[in-house]
Symmetry: C2
Subunit: 346 residues, 2 copies
Amino acid sequence: MSMGDVIDRGERGRVTLQVIAEKLDVSTATVSLALRDSPVVAEATKSRVQALARELGYIYNRSAASLRTARTNMIAVGFHDITNPYFAEMLVAVEETAAEAGRTILLGTYGESLERQERVLGTLKEYRPDGMILCPAGGATAESLAHLTAARIPVVQISREIEGVGLDFVGSDDVQGAHLAIAHLVELGHTRIAMIGGMEDTSTGWCRHRGYREAIEKHGLRFDPDLVYMDYGTRQTGLAGIQKVLALPDPPTAAFCFNDLTAFGALLGLRRCGREAGLDFSIVGCDDVQEAAQWYPALTTVRNNHAEMGRRAAELLIERIERPDLPPRRVLIRPELIVRASTVAA
Amino acid sequence: MSMGDVIDRGERGRVTLQVIAEKLDVSTATVSLALRDSPVVAEATKSRVQALARELGYIYNRSAASLRTARTNMIAVGFHDITNPYFAEMLVAVEETAAEAGRTILLGTYGESLERQERVLGTLKEYRPDGMILCPAGGATAESLAHLTAARIPVVQISREIEGVGLDFVGSDDVQGAHLAIAHLVELGHTRIAMIGGMEDTSTGWCRHRGYREAIEKHGLRFDPDLVYMDYGTRQTGLAGIQKVLALPDPPTAAFCFNDLTAFGALLGLRRCGREAGLDFSIVGCDDVQEAAQWYPALTTVRNNHAEMGRRAAELLIERIERPDLPPRRVLIRPELIVRASTVAA
DNA sequence: CTGAAAGCGCTAACAA
DNA sequence: TTGTTAGCGCTTTCAG
């Protein structure tokens, strides 16, 4: 076919199964099967169909197929924040695992706004993804996800957990993570240990705070609410938090930060106060994002294996899509302490 | 309606316009219009329809609507790497702008692999997004995007540009950015300035290298190929590159890095050699990711306004979706030098 | 091995 | 203001 020929592109100017079928004088059913390489179609027919499809620049229309099959092969990902490298790196793991399984990611973000989350999840669900991977905004309740379970959409929660919602969950054992951090600091001889960042309206915040308190008391130290600075885990929180606790009459000599971002902020705030982690103060982060190893000083932190978390979540979801009646599963990834240069003996 | 009633969920167990229409004894057309709040439908009817829809947990089916309207309200984003905060932050800007305009993001990533890019873009296009925002893998050619233009999919390139492909582009004036960096270093008295990172198979790499060389020569310095270390812009590249040039018989006293990630690596490598940027060496980065201001030393860098880039790209794309015949546009965002602590007089 | 026909859930023309 | 009708592009029985 030369460039001069007018290609019959159908009413809408598009190449569809219909136009291929007509040109080849076969049925659309045959074309459909041939393009999917069905064993039921004669080899010769298949080649003819496939060749013509390529020639005409046929593009499979997944909307149409989805309408028919009630499958979209899309996985919706709702994250509060992908600006945090922890979640960006997790998202990459999800995306890659999904892509390997022939799924594409539909993405929505909503910060810590429940209202935006509601809107975003509502929209995502209208695209009829085969399933969703969610990390809810702070304060989200079982109720706020009820519309998803009602619609019987397979959902796996990642990192942050809403309990009693009967959904799969993949996350870190955050209580244990806090224990590791505090044990390390206690071992170094610290007795006044602050906790910076983390909110109670989030499972990660709540669990890490609980682990912090448990560990403090387990080691025979006194829990002092003044040493606790709560806010969402941002660099800004770390910066403000460390300065706050350092201004105390009886300041801490170490701090456990809710996440690495907060720790980075704290490292900075420390320096502004003329102190330096690893010299006259100790900071432990949580997450172990790539950046952590490269800070100065390199950050001692609790590794949550977020890439694995992303991968496992995608795998779990795909399993659940195939077997919707599986009982809810809860995958807790074991955190590990990574000791680097930001902690020293008291 | 009590919980005991069996809700007619249609053949597939789903609530569709059909089932609402039947229950209310109106036509699906009316239901469709009512749900979209058409002024043509009587208020009373609208309320009845909307109330029942809510009660039954009706979920709009965008696949079905798309099939009919040939519009999906999805924007596909193909990025090589969202692990780089530069692109993650850009993606957030794209996502937010798109969401404000009622569009949802379909995401694909492919690293620097042309083969993966081909596969990913192919898949994305089958979902029939209304448009695409792309940052191609290194070495991508006009040819490798030809299938998109052939399918008449509105595309805007972001950050990296493939020329002669006739597509919209939003990016930074990379040549100018390099000029700013070099001018700053020359002003500080540096005469041996390295360039670390960046590949010629990428417009950003190529332009920054060109700008580097032009600026070097414009200031009467000698261009020395030994001072140039080429590789993709990663932390690893920075780490390796700085060590390489420092080992030279006549080492540089300053380096311009392809991007901030590379600069972070270089800062690290420098320290491993017992040197410190801002004291006995100067490093200029490029991008100004959030992390840059918080490094130690804080990174002097060329700000590319990547958030604005993301926003503009989304805006441009939405315009083009509405007016496909617009001539290709090229938006160059003016870079600015942000002087911080990683540079000092020679 | 191939074709005919129906239908997924929605919207848009047109008619009433 | 509402209903009728057709059809978007695909897959899937069921016949042949």
